[in-house]
Symmetry: C3
């Protein structure tokens, strides 16, 4: 078998910024020449997650609002107290959403739904440069 | 290495319907002849998720109730306002649960726990035909 | 291609116990000799999850508190009523977090962030011995 390793670098505004990774992943898959396999997408870092969503302004804003509600920035967080930090909520959201999704490759194409995009969500409370690892396995 | 690609087609009632995929995935793994590897299970679409759960009526009903509470159907959702749509909550639940799980194959069998089943959860607010991609990697 | 199969066995106290799997996964990857690929990490069982988090006491305690809030132990759970059981909340948390994450291997090393550890979270309401499957694909 073969492994093709790709990296995506994205600048984000933080604070729940949602970045569409689909074209970047597609480009790495295209260059690999793989016809059948998977693309294992992984966000590097403890305050960032990967999932899929319909990447349109409404669903993106609603997802951000959901996570604001589930794990609000304010709160008596032990991470903040122990580490003189401000981003405990970022850690919680990242652990809940998870850092990885594995996407099928069929006929050389990502096997996504029509309205389904691969996204990074940067939960940190400041702008960040993020690295996404894409391992194409076939 | 080898990739064996399988597809499962399931009809669902929507509205949080939970469908047990375990036998379908097992059948694809069995036909592949793979002894050691993984089955990468991926639900196609932006309003559907994949996870594992004990597939019995109680846990299934409780999981549906949890998601009703975390992301209720009613609410001032921007997705619904911008797109004249009704399923913003479906998008949120799908993005939270995620579309993929990767299951080990050991000795030709799925390495699941005794009470652990692979399930699709259809969060859309209407009946759907769903496609699940199963990539067997070895 | 090659598959290297490893197992980790961990004793946990249950009740949301978070166990750092990073060194165990790293050791399996090291013994495999794989330079480029992925480690597919999967927790066996219906009341246990896998994710990544900064493994320090504050973030761990905050994550436990978050799940206590999202799916409290008390409640009119059908799983408990139908099965004369007490751990419905454990099942819900496990299904929400999910059993698998797929971690990149680059240059023979796990491609994690500096503060990002792979963890098992044991949601069951009693001590357990847990098995984690690690499939190294290259």
């Amino acid at each position: 078998m073969t492994v093709h390793s790709g990296l995506l670098r994205v600048q984000t505004a933080g604070d729940g910024a949602v970045v569409d990774l689909t074209e970047g992943v597609r480009s790495i898959v295209g260059r690999s020449g793989v016809e059948a396999g998977v693309a294992a997408v992984f966000a590097v870092g403890a305050t960032v997650g990967v999932t899929t969503i319909e990447y349109e302004p409404g669903a993106v804003a609603d997802f951000q609002a959901l996570l604001d509600r589930l794990a609000p920035p304010e709160g008596a967080y032990e991470h903040n107290a122990l580490n003189h930090d401000t981003n405990a909520h970022s850690h919680l959201r990242a652990a809940l959403v998870g850092p990885s999704e594995t996407i099928p490759i069929v006929g050389g194409e990502l096997g996504l739904g029509t309205w389904q995009q691969i996204v990074l969500v940067d939960f940190d409370d400041r702008p960040r440069e993020r690295i996404v690892s894409v391992q194409v396995l076939s």
